[in-house]
């Protein structure tokens, strides 16, 4: 067992760091023994640290890194079922399965997440309106819990299975997940792009046409105001058939490393601030085609443009940043409009604002996506009044029957959590069963009183 001393950990937003003992078990048996909770100060797993807030840290406790769970994915070529170790990144999974004609069923905006993290956050991608979140494609989970190894599936202890999807690591450590992959003919996408001069036009275009595409997402300019309020660029597409991709010596299922990546920031030397973000947004909006159809694009450029900029999260400076992501029901697009309008009026720099329509929800009591509109934006820490503004937006979101995404959250008021996630008791029930001593907890669980005030099931 290689237990390293204390380390200071934070999420991708670099806010609210805390110190914990970091353990790197070398096999599953060691992992299970770590979960017996001997120290009494709790344990939480940590993947690649891409949660923005405090989900994968535990002040004073033990944080388990998943290096031991990083063997090769096992793919059944005929069926597309793959057993993915919990500590493996989607980057590695894609690298192994795409050349064999398969694709991950759901990918978030970065490949640098582990399979365990994808399950724990029940991540969604540009295809949520059609394919749901990650958990919908998982057929079996092998979990290490404080009461030992558990195997669970949609028809085999469904409460444990679904509480784990979106459960933020509080029901156990994902040792492996069996996932149904998506067959693809190429490593390319065919992409349609259109510009909308106003948020209303953008949302109308999405409502009208999203169903024709597997993937759809819009990038919103939160700096534009007045008649350009919420102007945006809508990109939609699907996997390209083999015949439609540029001819390659090594065939349609390969892309060169870094191919087709257009860096979203020209020179990441200076800090992102309202001035540079404003200039970037203007440039980015202007360079997007007014309307373009069927443009071939390698999949990394389509799904993971920011992965090309190593450590982009540092660009926001030493104070760090928050990502605010909420979802509201389909008929509450007004909350999206109000959020964009209040943020643009206050000139709170947001480099990335992403708008998407979610389809039907999955069964996880803490799974974030519900049908409706989701808006995600980056907000650097610093501007006075930002905390109060976000508290105010939380109230609007909760009042509309929406919620914020726990994998992004670093600041929600705990009293709003049960309003946003009314099925919290189901998670508690599962945690009491697989973690009777309350070993699994995190700074996020403690901050939001997930379970009791100390973050353990009550």
């Amino acid at each position: 067992m290689s237990t390293i001393g204390r380390e200071l950990l934070s999420g991708w937003g670099h806010t609210a760091p805390s110190a914990a003992t970091v353990a790197r078990p070398t096999d599953v048996a060691e992992l299970v023994s770590l979960l017996d909770g001997g120290s009494g100060r709790g344990v939480i797993p940590r993947g690649l640290g891409r949660s923005y807030g405090d989900a994968a840290q535990l002040a004073g406790g033990t944080v388990v890194e998943l290096g031991a769970l990083s063997g090769a994915p096992r793919l059944d070529q005929a069926s597309g079922r793959a057993v993915l170790p919990g500590g493996v990144s989607l980057h590695r999974v894609l690298r192994e399965v795409v050349p064999r004609g398969w694709f991950v069923p759901v990918t978030p905006g970065t490949r640098q997440v582990t399979v365990g993290g994808a399950v724990a956050a029940d991540v969604h991608g540009k295809n949520h309106h059609r394919d749901g979140a990650f958990g919908r494609h998982v057929t079996r989970l092998e979990l290490a819990t404080p009461v030992g190894l558990r195997s669970t599936g949609p028809d085999d202890d469904p409460p444990l299975f679904w509480a784990t999807h979106g459960g933020m690591g509080l029901t156990g450590v994902v040792v492996s997940a069996e996932v149904q992959l998506l067959p693809v003919e190429s490593a390319w996408m065919l992409v349609d792009t259109e510009r909308a001069e106003h948020l209303d036009d953008l949302m109308a275009a999405m409502e009208e046409g999203d169903d024709r595409y597997r993937y759809s997402v819009a990038w919103v300019d939160c700096q534009a105001r007045g008649r350009h309020l919420g102007r945006g660029v809508l990109t939609r597409g699907d996997h390209a058939p083999a015949a439609a991709v540029p001819r390659r010596r090594r065939g349609p299922l390969t892309v060169r490393a870094g191919e087709g990546l257009r860096l979203p920031v020209g020179a990441p030397s200076g800090l992102l601030n309202p001035l540079t973000v404003g200039a970037f947004n203007e440039l980015w909006f202007r360079r997007a085609p007014k309307r373009e159809t069927g443009r071939p694009q390698p999949y990394p450029a389509f799904f993971h443009p920011l992965d090309a900029v190593a450590d982009w999260s540092r660009l926001y400076g030493p104070r760090g940043f928050m990502q605010y992501q909420f979802v509201v029901p389909p008929d509450r697009g007004d909350v999206v409009r109000q959020a964009v309008s209040e943020l643009s009026a206050r000139r709170l720099a947001s480099f990335l604002a992403v708008l998407k329509r979610f389809g039907p929800a999955d069964d996880g009591p803490l799974s974030f996506p519900i049908p409706g509109w989701t808006l995600a934006l980056d907000l650097p820490v610093g501007p006075p009044g930002l905390g109060e503004l976000l508290d105010h937006l939380d109230e609007l979101v909760a009042g509309a029957g929406g919620r914020v995404y726990l994998a992004k959250d670093a600041r929600l008021r705990p009293e709003l959590l049960p309003v946003m996630y009314p099925r919290l008791a189901e998670l508690d029930l599962v945690r009491r069963r697989v973690d009777p001593k309350g070993v699994l907890r995190s700074d996020l669980a403690r901050r939001l009183h997930l379970g009791g005030p100390d973050g353990t099931p009550c």
Binding site: L8, A59, G61, A410
Partner: protein
């Protein structure tokens, strides 16, 4: 836990009846804080402050006896505070006594007591609190220093020299906790118009307890290690710190 904007859920106020300290706590309660521990000497005052804070029914308030001039009491108070509220995120050091310079300055016992109340006791308390927070893996310490300690003046050198000691201690403490998840914020107000200074001549660039409290929350949010209230004092003292003694002596306030 602290959130991304440095807002605590549980605070320990050392100097539990301090006007500035309570102004800070009130703002913290409005933001996120639901557990408050008030430590101080004046039991009646503590009970009154606790009742006021608990009035809205959303805050749990505990009180702890503390006699800052007694090191044993300092150690016991920290222990008791973390027993009643094990998840304290923020420790606010608001202890202090202005004393009466004119009568104290030739009196060995009164002089010692001024230094104990403003420096020795606070340092002992901070040592104990820092140990707890470092062990917990996360926390903040907010130390109310004073411009009186930046360059000590004839008119209040007992208070000023003790604050100078505390300020230096806090700077060292801040370095010692780097990388532990704990951070120290030093706040240096100018003349604060309030109960503590009632009846004294107001100095230029005076401020109020509420303005100091607002600046403290801002420091927690931005992570600023040193905050001056009002902000201009940073630049004023950049000059005054090096002003010739003959000039310094003649300045008003």
């Amino acid at each position: 836990m602290l959130d991304a904007l440095g807002r605590p859920q549980s605070v320990l106020l050392l100097g539990g009846t301090s006007e500035i300290g309570l102004a800070i706590v009130e703002r913290l309660v409005t933001a996120r804080c639901t557990t408050v521990v008030l430590a101080g000497r004046d039991r009646e005052g503590l009970a009154g402050a606790a009742a006021a804070l608990a009035a809205n029914g959303k805050v749990t308030v505990h009180t702890v006896d503390l006699e800052a001039t007694d090191p044993a009491s300092c150690a016991a108070a920290v222990q008791q505070a973390f027993e009643v509220a094990p998840t304290i995120d923020l420790v606010v050091m608001a202890l202090g006594a202005l004393g009466d310079q004119a009568t104290d300055e030739r009196d060995p016992l009164a002089t010692a007591e001024m230094i104990e109340a403003n420096f020795t006791g606070p340092a002992a308390l901070l040592a104990g609190a820092a140990a707890r927070l470092v062990e917990a893996g996360q926390g903040r310490i907010l130390v109310l220093s004073s411009v009186a300690g930046v360059r000590v003046r004839r008119a209040n050198y007992l208070y000023g020299s003790a604050k100078a000691g505390l300020d230096g201690y806090a700077l060292g403490l801040a370095e010692s906790v780097r990388g532990t998840g704990v951070a120290v914020h030093i706040v240096r107000p100018g003349f604060v118009v309030g109960r503590m200074t009632a009846g004294r001549n107001q100095a230029p660039l005076a401020t109020t307890p509420d303005a100091v409290a607002a600046a403290c929350l801002r420091a927690l949010e931005t992570g600023a290690p040193i905050t001056w209230v009002p902000e201009h004092l940073r630049f004023v003292f950049l000059v005054l710190r090096h002003a010739p003694a003959a000039l310094w002596r003649r300045l008003p306030g």
